[in-house]
Amino acid sequence: MTRRGRTLWIVGFAAALLVAGVLSWYASGSPDGLEHAADRAGFAQSAEDSATAGSPLADYLVDGAENRLSAGAAGVIGVVVTLALAGGLTLVLRRRATPADRT
């Protein structure tokens, strides 16, 4: 990566951490569009708990603790795990430059 590429990457990563780790706490807690529509149309009650509902990170909280630290930690873990999986996948899939290409 070039120096400017690295700067962009670091700024983007910091922004993702800030959004997921801090700003997410201030997000709206109202039901989202799908939930709202399901309520109005009358099929909301057909929702079942996910098999992962007992996950320690369920509902974007660590162990269900409803506080800033728990929500922030859950967000940061999500960003890091997503980055590791998607970043690993795209690095494996990429066409690698041959040494001759690197000028």
């Binding site: 070039t2 983007g12 997410s24 989202d32 929500a71 980055l83 990429r94 430059a97």
Partner: protein, 240 residues
Amino acid sequence: MCNKVVVVHVPDGFLDVPTSLATGALAAGTVALALRKARTELDDRTAPLAGLTAAFVFAGQMINFPVATGTSGHLIGAVLAAVLVGPWTAVLCMTVVLLVQAVLFADGGLTALGTNVTLMALMAVVIGYGVFRGLSALLPRTRTGLLTATGTAAFLSVPAAALAFVVLFEIGGTVDVPLGTVAAAMTGVHLLIGLGEAAITVAVVGAVLAVRPDLVHGAARLRTATPLAGRPAAVMEGAR
């Protein structure tokens, strides 16, 4: 004050088993194809940005913004990803985000994962990127033209995904609700959410375009523009 993050994708139970199996197969086929095709979009320069894009979409989806009284919406990020890193890579980025949310955060059911991938990694990308390409061909090859196409595509991707859900619910909904009722409940609110989607997408793509236009997949046409069109200075500078 306690604001639990709500996000909310399609949970288990909304759609019957045959429909969930069908969307699961469609999703698996799409991802398999994307794994092959994404190679053409990914190289040493763009691969690191692709991973970051997925992480950013995950973060962005955590921000539910109010759209009407008692209702919120959140970013999908399909057009954001497709314009930044290419449509095939966007399918993979969106799928990873949905997988992490379903497995770790219990957001979106496990049996509904295929449905969520179909709606947000397939439909939103196909419709959104299709609109983006179509408008890009019509609009001037400038920064403004590109961002106009991006914003319109992002806006339309949300009702497109919502309507795709309506169709799936008509086919395999577990509760018998008239099509018109579901469509009416889904459409209005998702048009409003689309405005938020467009605003966030334009802001992020615009920011990356300002510093590294050479890394924006959807800006390839800006780079091939003649020196008299668009903003040649920015294009040349962006070429590092």
